[in-house]
Symmetry: C2
DNA sequence: GGCAAAATGTAGCACATGCTACATATTGTA
DNA sequence: TACAATATGTAGCATGTGCTACATTTTGCC
């Protein structure tokens, strides 16, 4: 193959819609964990004044080591503040993200419940689904909920 | 801390429902990519007789290198057969998975469309959502679709 | 046949996530 | 205060996914 030595290699252009969708999904996945963490930190702060590494580990179902490393990344990205051996707190940016996630989570759960899905299954599915719900789809869920309530 | 030298360390037991849900989500994520690949391979086989690495790369929006390594894993796990410089084919197991995914994908898209979501957004969201839809939720989607159709 | 383009393969890097094992700091309490 | 339990931190490994750069094979065509 002629390696076309001039062009540094143009990025693969996915022509298909599916490629675009999958790339979107991959991007979302990168932020899913951040969302889960800030949401958990917000909950814990509310419930017991502060969030500790152990609490997060228990809550998220991972070891404290994983929590620790992920917190370093969240701190790097400006979502939390943390000092060694101290509690973890959300930054303004972290709070904003947490609020968004909590509202979205609640909406998704309510929506699934309104379809007749049992509490536990709704919770489990919502955890997986919520990160992939676009603004448009979330709005559609809310519309549906209003209709269902009005009835 | 007393290291309790006898017990090899019992796995962290997540007491909270959220921990369980998140672990479920992580398990699902491990199989998402396999699902995307077998689905693409099935489509390509139908459309042009066989699936090649380049086709998959274009379709999935990644480089051929990534396709290559992922195919090795899929082969290891029994979903595809592949020989160097040859086309890729699904095993019986791969076909079964592809069928399931295609049906589920179609259901999720139809469902989102029935909520008034535009074609493109429905496709994009479906790619992210479909992997996290439990049997129960999928059934609820189908129920909803039947109701909407009947009307 | 033989050359060039296309396709495929391989090496090696980066990053994210998970883990176990072990080290260190903090804390509760005798 | 001092010890033991708890919490937190660090080192190092595995796996999965993505990439670029380069090597090799296959294929189309003169």
């Amino acid at each position: 193959m002629q390696p076309s030595p001039r062009h540094p290699k143009k990025p693969v252009r996915p022509s298909a819609l599916q490629a675009e969708s999958l790339q979107q999904t991959r991007r979302e996945h990168a932020s899913e964990i951040a969302e889960d963490y800030v949401e958990a930190i917000a909950d814990l702060a509310l419930a017991q004044g502060e969030a500790r590494v152990v609490d997060l580990a228990r809550r998220l179902g991972v070891t404290h080591v994983t929590v620790n490393r992920t917190l370093a990344r969240l701190q790097r990205d400006g979502y939390v503040t943390a000092r060694p051996y101290r509690a973890i707190f959300l930054t303004a940016q972290g709070h904003a993200l947490a609020d968004t996630c909590q509202r979205r989570h609640a909406t998704v759960v309510s929506f699934l419940r309104s379809l007749g899905i049992a509490e536990k299954a709704a919770e489990i599915d919502a955890e997986g689904i919520e990160h992939h719900v676009s603004t448009e789809t979330l709005a559609a869920f809310e519309r549906h909920l209003r209709r269902a309530t009005r009835r």
